[in-house]
């Protein structure tokens, strides 16, 4: 309606009565207002992101300029010696998130496929609600479960791999449990958007459930699937409380998967309250690193999606 009248309402009235004309004008004003407001909100997000980034760069700059590349190659985070290396924390963040994604993606996909394709109707709702409830459990609860149940369990059953129960792998396991409901809920929702007719036709041609899922459903919703995984990964990268409980908090770089380490978020949580001077600046620079890592992950996901789109048969 706005489109048909825009630009022409001043000279061409098309036989509309004055009341109709004023209604059209009012609608146009409202429409403009709506557009400006929503654009303002969208720009606000950009502005917010920009200022957060800026303030991190500004406050992290003393440390970054002091250490230069050593900030990324130094093997320890030793506040007493003013030697701050981000390597242990970056390594721990990537390893724990990697473990979490490696476990969570197949499991979540499995749950989602079962819920949408195979699940008896009577079970579908209770199971779906349970998954959603799991997504709502606060992270501190997972942390307590990790330190009270999971870590002692790992320690008593695999004492040679987990001598203390805590470590990067334990944190990865906890993170996997935390992000499974997220990825599952999103995967299920996007899979349900595939029209039943498409699905039924494929079954009608004699496809197995796996073939339908793999060749019909997944290709048509891959954007949503990647989105779900990215959301889960984002949570894993930034998760603080639960990870601090079980990661072992070792600030020395050890190329280990099951041993103790630290993550960016856990290190900041442990040291920020009492940090000042160079240590505070180094911690803020570390926060900037987390930001950058998240950006890189998002960018990789974008590139992957674009590539899949290009390869897909038209």
């Amino acid at each position: 309606m706005t489109q048909s009248t825009s630009g022409a309402s001043e000279d061409v009235t098309l036989g509309a009565s004055p009341t109709e004309q004023s209604a059209v004008k009012r609608n146009r004003r409202l429409d403009g207002l709506f557009e400006h407001t929503t654009r303002g909100f969208a720009l606000l997000v950009l502005l917010l992101l920009g200022t957060i980034m800026m303030s991190l760069v500004i406050s992290g700059w003393p440390a970054l300029s002091e250490f230069g590349w050593h900030f990324f190659t130094e093997d320890r985070w030793a506040a007493n010696l003013d030697r701050f290396g981000a390597l242990p924390a970056i390594y721990g963040t990537l390893v724990t998130s990697g473990i979490a994604i490696a476990i969570a993606v197949p499991v979540s996909m499995g749950i989602a496929i079962f819920l949408t394709e195979k699940c008896p109707a009577a079970l579908r709702r209770p199971l779906g609600t349970t998954v959603e409830l799991l997504a709502g459990v606060p992270s501190i609860i997972y942390g307590m479960w990790g330190v009270e149940v999971l870590a002692p369990f790992l320690q008593s059953h695999f004492p040679t791999i987990f001598p203390a129960g805590t470590g990067l792998a334990t944190a990865g396991l906890i993170l996997a449990v935390m992000i499974i409901p997220f990825i599952t809920a999103i995967t299920r929702d996007v899979m349900l958007t595939v029209p039943p007719m498409v699905r039924e036709s494929a079954y009608g041609l004699g496809c197995t459930t796996w073939e339908v899922t793999r060749s019909v459903i997944f290709p048509s919703v891959k954007g949503g699937l990647v989105g779900g995984v990215i959301l889960g990964l984002g949570r894993a990268l930034g998760e603080t409380m639960a990870v601090t409980f079980v990661i072992g908090n070792n600030l020395f770089f050890n190329p280990t998967v099951t041993g103790q380490g630290t993550s960016i978020a856990a290190l900041i949580a442990n040291q920020f309250p009492e940090a000042d001077g160079l240590q505070r600046s180094a911690l803020l620079a570390l926060g900037l690193m987390l930001f950058v890592i998240t950006f890189i992950v998002l960018a990789i996901a974008r590139v992957m999606l674009n590539r899949m789109d290009r390869r897909a048969p038209k």
Binding site: A78, N80, Q155, N249, F252, N270, P273
Partner: protein, 348 residues
């Protein structure tokens, strides 16, 4: 509608007002977890006696220094003394309020941990990851009659900045040059091996739950959690057991009178019975206080603690500050605490 809003505003201001009136009867402080057991006992007794409460947040010495520097609390507490130059820079004074011992706690399967003997060098090597099994030759040599198991050692340490860390690393750096050069002393250090746990209680829990674990905590935490405290070799070459007697022996070396800014760390002290890791816990206050009443209330509490708190402290295996030292503190240190108008806060 408006009337309702106004009514809510009025009542909430009233509630807030009464809350701040109540707050005037509470002393606020933050810092070290090491003296927390004794401070909380004193606080209970003091509240019964005077009606004034103490809100002490045991967030670690690093946090305590940070909070008092930011003036968000009336006093800060730290187990690591601040250097005289740092004190001057921040307009702070410090004094020792209580002394106590840091002890190594062990969890060795099949062995009574209280019988295990360790020396500083071995302890440093364990924490540097160079000794990784309980049946290592270095430990076996110190404990010839013991059948040590082939269990992996899991060193447990404090993850956050803490005064207990400072005392422990200060001691290890004194007795092992390797440790001093590679790890160094401080409230927050990067340990080459082991597990970081939160606060004294976290370390106690982690050691209790880890076969082969070793950790260090303030003695009261070891006592409360029934942890096994290993014996340590002191400067004179004797193996001593942790407890009030050996803490007192080490504390008797303290020469507070000649310590500039009362900067004094009591690790590796001479004396046949001295426990090697003893430290004082310090209170920090501003010399130019913004709220003289609050400061005075805090000083009254510390005065009361010096006079009436010794029994409670001794029961928890802390070493009280001797009377001659506390009267020196009242005279020389508290007299420096002034309101911003320049009036002395502490008047006898």
């Amino acid at each position: 509608m408006l009337k309702n809003v106004a009514a809510t505003l009025v009542t909430s201001t009233l509630v807030l007002g009464s809350a701040s009136a109540m707050a005037a009867d509470t002393i606020t402080g933050a810092g070290a977890t090491f003296p927390y057991p004794v401070y909380s006992q004193w606080a209970d007794a003091y509240q019964d006696a005077t009606g004034v409460g103490l809100n002490y947040q045991a967030i670690g010495s690093g946090g305590g220094i940070k909070q008092i520097t930011a003036r968000t609390v009336t006093f800060g507490a730290s187990d690591a003394p601040m250097k005289p130059s740092e004190l001057k820079e921040n307009n702070l004074v410090q004094w020792p309020q209580i002394m106590g011992g840091v002890v190594p706690v062990v969890n060795v399967p099949g062995i009574d941990g209280t019988k295990i003997k360790l020396d500083g060098e071995t302890l440093a090597k364990i924490y540097m990851g160079e000794i990784s099994n309980w049946n290592d030759d270095a430990i076996a040599k110190l404990n010839p009659d013991m059948d040590l198991p082939d269990t992996r050692i899991t060193p447990v340490y404090r993850a956050e900045g803490s005064g207990t860390n400072f005392l422990f690393t200060h001691y290890l750096a004194q007795v092992s040059s390797d440790f001093a050069n590679n790890v160094g002393e401080g409230k927050s250090v990067a340990w080459p091996a082991g597990v970081g746990a939160k606060a004294n209680a976290g370390v106690a829990n982690q050691v209790a739950g880890t076969p082969g674990g070793i950790g260090y905590v303030e003695y009261a935490y070891a006592h409360q959690n029934n942890l096994k405290v290993a014996q340590l070799e002191n400067k004179s070459g004797n193996f001593v057991t942790a407890g009030i007697e050996s803490f007192k022996a080490a504390a008797s070396n303290a020469d507070w009178k000649n310590a500039d800014g009362l900067y004094l760390v009591l690790t590796d002290q001479p004396g046949g019975q001295s426990w090697p890791i003893v430290g004082a816990s310090f209170i920090l206050m501003h010399t130019d206080v913004q709220n003289p009443q609050a400061a005075k209330q805090a000083l009254k509490f510390f005065d009361w603690a010096y006079k009436n708190g010794n029994d409670a402290a001794t029961k928890l295996d802390y070493v009280p500050i001797p009377d001659n030292v506390s009267s020196m503190i009242r005279q020389d240190v508290w007299s420096q605490i002034k309101s911003q108008g320049g009036e002395q806060v502490w008047t006898k």
